[in-house]
Symmetry: C2
Subunit: 259 residues, 2 copies
């Protein structure tokens, strides 16, 4: 039987998972995919994921691939797999790719959003999808600071210490800070609240890079640091220079684009 | 000690509750408020709610009042109460009102939103806050149909049969159908998905009225009915004439305005 490689676009609510990567001590997105694919296809399946998101991080479009000899058409696997997956994981697309295609060995653009809810009190319906703070952050100052990170830089200051990587150089294509008030619809925002969205697109991100960028921008939004300090934080190439790692639940992997 | 009446603006995620109203067979928003207020103030407290929302329905701004002789300033009660409440209920505001003020015996405008997510597959991060359908609904047809409901009418066709009410006449001030695509941020929408938001503001709503309006508009969006049929459905004054009651999780009580 002929072997084919199938690419999955995977959306999930990370609230109830120990992140993406298979672990001994808890259920993960990857372990659920492996379990359900193995049941569905009757072969031992182990997916290869594009982004190993942390516990509590969400995704609308993470990517995974696997090989199978099962005759089921690649585009039908999404429907069959969603029947078996828990409701907080849903395949958005399944398609055949060349057998040598690997999600981490190809050029791609990744887009993440970090959501911050600023109000006197938390809003229950966004508690798992945004980081709550009662500080009214200065989104303009955050946007000014964000500009320094756009382009190709050594992002070591924004990399969790101890992470094993060949290089800490990455390219950020765009980094925007948006503020949403209650005038827009479909936002769970109290009359006296604001939602701030940090949207970043890059060719790759170091371990905890987006959450450390968010934590640093939050300190700038609080006025603890000036926007121009971002330049020095970047050039320091030292994790200690940057702000804290912002909480996981505010982060969502929006999409992957393969070039 | 002097008695005062306190008004609470209450936000909650209805997913894990048997609705607002106290029941024998499950935890409700009202029972949690009564329990935590009784603990906090050391008096037997029973709140009076403005809207008795159903199981699974959410709120950003439901309203409740209670009387207390406790000396704690009314505006401080929100902070103290939020310390005791579960994280899926959060007081947004607490304030003193006249001792004869009653949330259901005064003129008010209530705003609800019903969220519908249209895409080939469900999106996990909105599964508790929007009704999912793989039908691509025609939002323009829905908006045309919605116009017939604006104004003062007998809404008996949109009232759950068996509901005890003096009159089924209500006034809808506005009823809009909005479509959101992936170009807007902060919307958990797949590239091939849409979110449709039905926003309705009125002086009062009958039992299940918003969900029956939503269910009828969904059938119109599917092309099962023509927009102009809404006129006949309204004039029929018969629940059988309208569409099904749309699922609870798509509904959120956005705000109360007291005139």
């Amino acid at each position: 039987m002929e072997k084919k490689r199938v690419r999955l676009t995977v959306a999930y609510d990370g609230t109830n998972y120990h992140g993406w990567q298979v672990q001994n001590n808890g259920i993960t997105i990857e372990s659920e995919l492996n379990r359900c694919l193995t049941e569905l296809l009757g072969e031992e399946i182990q997916v290869i994921g594009a982004s190993r998101t942390d516990a509590g991080v969400h995704a609308m479009g993470n990517v995974a691939v696997f090989d199978t000899v099962h005759p089921m058409p690649a585009d039908k696997i999404s429907y069959a797999l969603n029947q078996r997956l828990p409701e907080d994981i849903r395949i958005q697309k399944s398609e055949e790719v060349p057998t040598d295609w690997h999600p981490r060995h190809c050029e791609s653009r990744k887009t993440y959003e970090y959501h911050i809810y600023c109000a006197p009190f938390p809003m229950p319906i966004n508690r798992f999808y945004a980081y709550f703070t009662y500080h009214m952050l200065d989104a303009e100052a955050m946007q000014q600071a964000a500009k320094y990170l756009v382009g190709e830089h050594d992002f070591q200051s924004f990399c969790q210490t101890g992470a094993q990587v060949e290089t800490t150089v990455r390219r950020i294509y765009s980094l925007e800070v948006e503020e949403h008030g209650t005038n827009e619809s479909a936002q769970p925002i109290a009359p006296n609240g604001r939602e701030i969205i940090i949207r970043v697109c890059g060719n790759g991100f170091l371990y905890n890079m987006v959450r450390i960028i968010a934590g640093t921008l939050i300190e700038i939004g609080q006025g603890k640091r000036k926007p121009a300090e971002m330049k020095d934080i970047l050039s320091a190439c030292n994790r200690q220079a940057a702000g804290p790692t912002a909480p996981a639940q505010g982060l969502t992997l929006i999409k992957y684009e393969f070039l």
